[in-house]
Symmetry: C2
Subunit: 180 residues, 2 copies
DNA sequence: CAGCATACGGAGCTAACATTCCGTTTGTCA
DNA sequence: TGACAAACGGAATGTTAGCTCCGTATGCTG
């Protein structure tokens, strides 16, 4: 239901079933024939999006240098979420046990990102105690900037700070971008 | 209304007026005699808490070494919010224009923190493009970890990563704490 | 104590939404 | 074309929660 996605993107979980149905040009009954509850509809959309994350990470893993993959994945994932309030909330909530039914997609993502982190650590670009769980944690933080400062590009600065914090201790950083 | 604060701490803005009144041992009417709307009640509580932030920062400014003040303020502010869901949401939302009526308290906080940042930059402990707005942004991120992983201490790790990211470029970091 | 004012309590009003249910339409098969 | 099935639409329902309003209690003044 792609019209559901549009509204979910604009309003988040607040999006109303009536409006979703109207936007899709169908009656409410029809929506409920496809998804038993509102939550089922939201879960379906979140699952789709999580799959996207997996694809983003996979693509980056195959094409980007080990030292830069992690930052690339973080940046591209964030960009994928930009302007999609519903997805932002879902991403933040995905750390919690809030979303049931996306376990599989999340496992795929975890596998890819874990590999990417390992490569980055071996390349000396990332501190060696960084984990997939940490990845989710900092992504959640960066997403919160997007959510609470909609339309601003401040999250890129937040990302830059976090990326700097991920360097291994003792490493002299260079070429750090300045404030935009 | 301190009983309101307890419920707000547990349930956030979801806290219900009936329950707040019952907890306070008064009728709903009485609550509405003190606060015209639910939002007014929430704002009053958020304002109190923001004042606390100002006090935390002021105390730290007076007693902590320039190189460590900023981290101390961040840590103590986060600790003040631990276990208080309502306050966590308020802190995250305070970056947005969501909360009207806390301008004064926020201005006080901004003044103190801006001074603290300047001192830290001069001491060479913090990158020189860091601003009060950035402070709010990263605090929002750290708070989001608290909110979405309630009861865990992961936010301390998030804080550590961010603090590392705030070092001036080229500085060799030392004594970085490892994963807890 | 009578009269007045101030503050209280909480039943009930209202609006917002998710969800259900049934009359109607559309499609299929003989 | 007629009979049956499958899918549809949206009015009606149920529930939740903020808020209002009026009858009552408390306290003060003369």
């Amino acid at each position: 239901m792609s019209s559901g996605r549009e509204l979910f993107a604009r309003d988040g979980p607040e999006a109303q079933m009536d409006e979703i149905a109207a936007r899709a040009g169908v009656g409410i009954g029809t929506v409920y024939r496809h998804f038993p509850t509102k939550e089922a509809l939201l879960t379906a959309m979140v699952r789709d999006r999580f799959q996207e994350f997996g694809e983003i990470a996979t693509l980056a893993e195959e094409t980007v240098d080990a030292r830069d993959v992690l930052e690339t994945v973080m940046r591209r994932s964030a960009e994928a979420v930009e302007g999609d309030v519903g997805f932002q909330l879902a991403m933040m909530g995905s750390n919690q046990l809030e979303w049931e039914g996306i376990e599989e997609e999340k496992a795929v993502l975890a596998a890819v990102v874990t590999r990417i982190i390992r490569r980055a650590v071996e390349a000396g670009a990332v501190r060696d105690d960084f984990t997939f769980e940490d990845f989710g944690m900092v992504m959640c933080g960066i997403t919160s900037t997007m959510y609470y400062k909609p339309g601003s590009a401040d999250w890129r600065r937040h990302l830059a700070i976090v990326v700097d914090g991920l360097c291994p201790p003792g490493r002299v950083e260079q070429d750090r971008p300045t404030r935009s």
